[in-house]
């Protein structure tokens, strides 16, 4: 907020000078220092900033504040005692084995889901981008699971992966026992596969848009240099879509960390024995079902911090996108 107030001590005079737009070199420099090279940016971004502040910042700050209180939601006008609780909620959360398990589960999820998403969506998108026939059909096909409501898709997945479902029938004696979704070793990997499958269409769309902006000349010159399709995939395609890869990495990590619907619907609330509980599912149970939003907020804050750390590391490893 301080950025919008004038930084220089004699406030009024230079501001007037700025507004008139006179070529006073001192004022111009100060303005540049104040608003950056191109202050139009602030103007163009203003609607988005206002939106974020009105809709997002207040509830978020409120949630963080709540995590340091002994807090619960009450009717307006109800007199309730909600003392400052310091780090009590965090202590409670960190001592809860269910919380550790949920974070471990989501770790397993990310290890499977993120690399699989990046590799499969890039492969399918580049195959699709260079396909000659029936491109429209394939595009629609890949988009379908992403569009379809989870309630229905979960029904299909249960049909496929239940004890006597299609997958086990095909596998015959190789089918796992207990079956996929009630096997504490396989429940989380099954969910990770499900989410990869459901979300892939979205990431394929991202990569397709990126691939279409790769200049054809790059491929042409690669092939005159004698590069085959495999080599030009590695030497042209992958570097050209790096910004998209950074984005896919970021978004799939974030979506994965916020995993909720799938354990809620697919494994009936995080079963078996909490093997597929996710932090957000725990937040939902603690905060909304059980009326302890302060504890839920503490879980949420820990989750957000962890995801930001992971995103930061990914950004470093993937080489950033601005340089």
């Amino acid at each position: 907020m301080t950025a919008t107030t004038p930084a220089a001590p004699p406030g009024a005079v230079p501001r007037k000078a700025d507004r008139r737009g006179t070529a006073s070199p001192g004022g111009g420099r100060r303005k540049r220092k104040l608003l950056g090279e191109n202050p139009l940016g602030l103007l163009f971004s203003a609607p988005y900033l206002v939106f974020i502040i009105l809709v997002f910042a207040y509830p978020l700050v409120f949630a963080v504040w709540m995590s340091f209180q002994d807090y619960f939601f009450a009717a307006p006008g109800a007199v309730v005692d909600r003392p400052f609780a310091g780090l009590d909620n965090y202590a409670r959360v960190l001592q809860d084995p269910a919380v550790w398990r949920a974070f471990g589960n989501v770790g397993i999820f990310l290890i499977i889901n993120v690399p699989l998403t990046v590799i499969l969506s890039l492969l399918l998108a580049s195959a699709l981008n260079r396909a000659v026939h029936a491109r429209a059909f394939f595009r629609v096909a890949y988009y379908v699971p992403y569009v379809t409501a989870s309630v229905a898709i979960v029904g299909v997945w249960l049909f496929l992966f239940s004890g006597n479902g299609l997958v086990n029938n095909v596998l015959g004696p190789l089918a796992p026992d207990p079956s996929w979704l009630i096997n504490s070793q396989l429940a989380m990997p099954s969910i990770a596969l499900f989410v990869t499958w459901k979300q892939l269409g979205f990431y394929i769309l991202l990569y397709l848009a990126a691939l279409q902006n790769v200049p054809k000349e790059l491929y042409e010159s690669a092939s005159t240099d004698g590069a085959g399709p495999v080599r030009s995939f590695f030497s042209v395609t992958i570097p050209s879509v790096r910004p998209a890869t950074v984005l896919v990495l970021l978004l799939s990590t974030v979506t994965g960390a916020n995993l909720f619907t799938e354990p809620y619907l697919l494994t009936g609330g995080g079963g078996p024995n909490g093997a597929s509980t996710s932090p957000v599912l725990l937040m939902y149970q603690r905060g909304i079902e059980q009326g302890n939003p302060d504890v839920a907020a503490a879980i949420g804050v820990i989750l957000v911090v962890l995801v930001m750390i992971i995103a930061f590391i990914q950004r470093k490893l993937a080489g950033g996108d601005e340089s």
Binding site: M1, I53, A57, Y58, L60, V61, F62, W65, F72, F73, A74, A75, P76, G77, A78, V79, V80, A98, V154, G155, L158, F159, S162, G163, N164, P178, S179, L181, I182, T267, G268, G269, G270, G271, P272, N273, G274, Q285, I288, E289, Q290, G291, N292, M308, F312, R315
Partner: protein, 429 residues
Amino acid sequence: MQRRMTAAAIAAAGLLALTGCTSGGGGGGNTANAERGDITIWYSNNEAEIAWGEQMIEAWNADNPDEQITAQEIPAGSSSEEVIGAAITAGNAPCLIFNTSPAAVPQFEKQGGLVSLSSFEGGDDYITERSGELAEQYASADGSYFQMPWKSNPVVIFYNKAMFAEAGLDPEAPALSTYDEFLETSRTLTEAGVAPFAINPAPTSEFFQSWFDFYPLYAAETGGELLVEDGAATFDSDAGAAVADFWATMYSEGLSGQEQYPGDSFVDGESAMAIAGPWAINYYGEDVDWGVVPVPTSQGISPEETYTFSDAKNIGLYSACENQATAWDVLQFATSEEQDGQLLELTGQMPIRQDLTGTYPDYFEANPAYEIFGDQAERTVEVPNVANSVEIWQTFRDGYSSAVIFGDDDVPAFLSDAASSIDDLVAQG
């Protein structure tokens, strides 16, 4: 990026200081006001209850032009508690909700969202006269009522007569009274291959699922004991162990499934029995020729003495209501003998009223299949009305799932661990 995040956080913190905390202040929400006027109510969105609600509102609105009711539907499932909780916090809850789960009442009460019905003139008397001894379970810790006991769905065992006949069992008098009989019948059913499972209660981890496997049998086994009584868990006992062992056997022998079934396994012929209340009859429709028996007990006590879980839905009067005197009148109107009769007729669910079968003899004569529910409704056990109710049930369910459904832990350890955690939760409240 970290530096930017910090900057963003500081900017946002400044914002919080500006907007401040908007709640707090004002008077308490627990005692009723005496205003009259139009009110809004919510009811459940299943077709039978909508039909009941519409005729009730029509009858009321015709006689009370200055105090009109408007109604809206909310979902019957677990998301109704989220919706109500959010509405309480925002102060825009309706006057009455005809779909208030007793398990959620302690939390809504703590939030200041409910009006004490005892604070109305003659409130307590009205409730106890209508519901008799059953009312007591719905009183809060201080003895006052924050919910109107409304209707129950006493949980019983449904069985598929055709499957029983096919397996060579007597479809009119099945042997399902003791645990041994129940297990033997279940083995016969699955061995005969009439259905993959004998009975298939949802094996999932939602907090309320224990109401439809452990709790009805526990109520029957103990002759009507609640999960928590006098501030302590009751189930770490011989009765609790007997019920848990019974279900553990069902799961370990594969008589009940460990995997959730997408759909209704009884309707789809995936199981030969179901454990449910009368609301389920609408689901079973004409597809299944069903019979009903009370839930089993270890020794097989007579049906007239068998208790079960009530699966009740109650009426709450919410503190955001502006015209609470009207709301209280509507509440009484909707639970009058006539409207209770309509409820029975239209939904097949049991009004929580003393001597139900004696009050509506015509109905039970015309619908003999419902008589067992009318009779069971007199002996029902509710979820304990204690703070942290949902958390208590979730704790119970998590332990139960691991020890009983999946057999990963042993049953005695589960009972004593869960009991001590639940004792702590009750004490915190």
